[in-house]
């Protein structure tokens, strides 16, 4: 099998390089037309912010990936990237790589399930542009199956692996129903925005945003459907919030111990969760000493992130087992392609004999008797061919009895003179597949 994968990803190159080779949908469409039929007979292009990968079957039997890489670099008009930036996989290795990518174990954040959706849309894109053929289709269907199985059967995608999500995870350990709580996000930067999005996704009851620059607060507020709290009047409103997440770039503290102490007194002891995910910290860490105030900063949230990351890494052996099972299953199917023509020829050969003999009898017996003989002969041939067909498929599927498969196939062809009788290979798309890719 000469299936190849040419990959440039976060492990082989810097973000800058990955950005320069990223293919948009339009570019992918154009690049498919560059490759299709000339360099690859069929394939799929996957391009995300962390990887650009070309999968496919070269048009020639000789596997030379250099022209494909050259075409990509020329297409993107990029200089200074060498072949060392690319990883190249062949045959079994290429399939294993795709399966690993689909399962999320090759992602920058192990277990990131976003990649599965990206592979799915890339595959559908290739299908719609008639670039993905039968075997590629089978390979990618297996990859998608692995991705789904990984999510369902392992915990590799579970647990917060970003600080802002870890903050929400801690909040959920304190409050059961976020839809009855109100939250304030201070800071409209990237981290603040991410925290606000997580809270919105968790269906927080009321969401408020505060930022030193009002316009940025309003901008974020529109994005996450929240209200704006004036930054200079924060201390007046603090007691109204069950959750405060602060992520500003302020060089000094913006909320003091006294302000939180006043707020908790006004709340009559109702718990308040404070997530200070700014560096340097926005809130006086001494507030953590107050009863019913749960204060967490970057250090404590990073502990959760590290723990969850470790748990995800511990799931990799289970994912590899899923990959291995699917590879066995895929190659089982692939190996049967060897024997399909022989089985088909054998069945055709017997059917022809049966039809000849039935023709001879047709006018010599009554219609009822003929129908009985027709049924009987059909069953007879079915029973005679059942065991050889099943055994031949089993040998092929196991992938470990190649010698037996070849010997038996040759023997059957010679004994029944199959190659001269029928040309099964020429009549079946699937029969031709393996020849085409080997």
């Amino acid at each position: 099998m000469n299936f190849v994968c040419i990959s440039i990803n976060h492990k082989t190159s810097s973000v800058g390089v990955l950005e320069s080779l990223h293919l948009s949908a339009d570019e992918t469409e154009k690049f498919i037309s560059v490759l299709k039929g000339i360099y690859l007979s069929e394939g799929v292009i996957v391009s995300t912010c962390n990887r650009t990968e070309i999968y496919g079957f070269p048009t020639e039997n000789k596997i030379d990936i250099t022209p494909i890489i050259d075409q990509l670099l020329e297409f993107k008009k990029v200089d200074g990237i060498s072949k060392n930036n690319f990883s190249v996989y062949f045959s079994c290795g290429a399939i294993k790589h795709l399966f690993s990518v689909a399962s999320g174990i090759e992602s920058m954040v192990v277990g990131d399930s976003q990649i599965l959706g990206q592979i799915k849309s890339s595959f559908e894109f290739a299908l719609s542009h008639e670039f993905a053929g039968t075997i590629t289709q089978k390979i990618f269907e297996a990859a998608l199956k692995i991705g789904k199985k990984t999510i369902k059967e392992t915990t590799i995608c579970e647990g917060a692996v970003t600080v802002s999500y870890a903050a929400v995870q801690v909040v959920e350990k304190i409050f059961a129903n976020l839809n009855k709580k109100s939250a304030l996000v201070i800071g409209a930067g990237e981290t603040g925005e991410l925290a606000a999005i997580h809270l919105r996704d968790k269906l927080i009851g009321k969401l408020f945003v505060a930022n030193r620059t009002l316009s940025r607060a309003e901008e974020l507020s529109k994005k996450v459907n929240s209200q704006v709290v004036p930054f200079d009047k924060l201390s007046e409103f603090l007691h109204q919030f069950d959750i405060i997440i602060s992520a500003t770039s302020s060089e000094s503290q913006i909320i003091s111990f006294e302000e939180i102490n006043t707020a908790i007194n006004k709340r009559k002891g109702t718990p308040i969760v404070i997530m200070d995910i700014a560096v340097p910290r926005d809130i006086d860490p001494k507030v953590g000493e107050l009863e019913n105030v749960f204060y967490h900063d970057m250090d404590s949230l990073n502990i959760i992130v590290q723990q969850n990351m470790q748990k995800r890494i511990e799931q990799i052996p289970f994912v590899l087992k899923i990959i291995m099972n699917e590879m066995v299953s895929f190659f089982g199917w692939y190996n049967t392609l060897d024997v399909v023509p022989t089985i088909k020829s054998l069945r055709n050969f017997f059917d022809e004999i049966r039809n000849d003999e039935l023709d001879k009898l047709k006018h010599k017996v009554s219609i009822e008797d003929f129908e009985k003989i027709e049924d009987m002969s059909k069953r007879l041939i079915g029973r005679i061919l059942h065991n050889p067909t099943v055994k031949l498929r089993e040998y092929a599927e196991s992938g470990t009895k190649a010698k037996e498969v070849i010997t038996n196939t040759i023997l059957l062809n010679e004994l029944f003179n199959l190659e001269n009788k029928t040309n099964g290979k020429a009549n079946n798309d699937e029969n031709n597949l393996k020849e085409k890719f080997e």
């Binding site: 350990k173 304190i174 059961a176 009559k268 109702t270 718990p271 019913n292 967490h296 404590s300 502990i303």
Partner: protein, 273 residues
């Protein structure tokens, strides 16, 4: 007779197996443990109920004639109330601590229970049976409330000291633990109220030496008042979180102290054994 003895020996093992499954699931979180532990508790409840019925029929009195029969009833009611709560809330991560209590009660009961054939006539009264069973269920509710309270404080401390270990990962949120503690206390309070009401109606007729100054009566009323005051504070004065949980635990300590003092130290007409 022999079946009762066999069940008496079997029950602590049944509770222990349930406890092991709950603990194992708490640590390892395996699907087969998660699925089978509830079934094990249900089987234990059925075996235990069968044992109680058999005992009642065989000895011709409800199993409330000595401390160790009471302990066995306490184990069953604790397990039963927890099972109902688990079915309603589908929170299964707290069962290990409750089953640990149930196992302890049943173990002591199975080790020390006596085969009592001759009991005073008053102990064969159905009203007494209902009075005592309601009281036991009531105290089981308070015990359960205290267990959830302990889990609340453990998680609270973990969150305050930034420890994100097993308890953080497995226990439900503080909100839920607080609610479970509250619901259990409410169930306990209602059942204890019924028991007290039944006692006021039935006890003066059943015991010639009945006295309103009886230490057990005063102790039970005190426990009732402590919990009642707690509910007023919770629903009227908005006591929340650690404050109400700490109060509930103080209530539980008073309830246990009252039981121990009135059953062992004070002289009471109210002693059935």
């Amino acid at each position: 007779m022999s079946i009762i003895i066999i069940l008496n020996v079997l029950l602590p093992f049944s509770y222990a197996i349930g406890l092991i499954f709950y603990l194992a699931d708490f640590y390892f979180q395996k699907k087969w443990l998660y699925d089978s532990k509830r079934l094990l508790v249900l089987i234990t409840i059925l075996i235990h109920s069968f044992y109680i019925v058999l005992r009642t029929i065989n000895y011709d009195h409800p199993p409330i004639t000595n401390k160790f029969e009471i302990f066995s009833l306490l184990a069953l009611s604790l397990c039963f109330i927890y099972f109902v709560l688990e079915l309603i809330t589908d929170i299964r991560a707290t069962g290990w601590l409750i089953l640990a209590f149930a196992f302890l009660f049943q173990f002591i009961s199975s080790m020390l229970i006596e085969e009592v054939y001759v009991v005073p006539d008053v102990l064969r009264d159905r009203m007494l049976g209902l009075h005592v069973i309601n009281a036991i269920l009531g105290y089981s509710g308070f015990t359960l409330s205290a267990v959830y309270g302990i889990l609340y404080l453990l998680l609270y401390k973990n969150l305050k000291t930034k420890k994100f270990g097993l308890l953080f990962n497995r226990l439900p949120s503080l909100d839920i633990l607080e609610k479970l503690s509250l619901y259990s206390a409410v169930i306990g309070f209602v059942l204890l109220t019924i028991s007290i009401a039944m006692g006021f109606i039935w006890l003066p007729d059943a015991f010639p030496n009945f006295s309103y100054a009886d230490p057990k009566l005063i102790g039970t009323i005190l426990v009732w008042l402590v919990y009642g005051y707690g509910f007023i504070k919770r629903f009227v004065s908005n006591w929340f979180g650690k404050k109400i949980i700490s109060y509930s635990l103080i209530g539980f300590v008073i309830a246990i102290a009252s039981l121990i003092i009135t059953n062992t130290l004070a002289k009471t007409f109210h002693s059935f054994y």
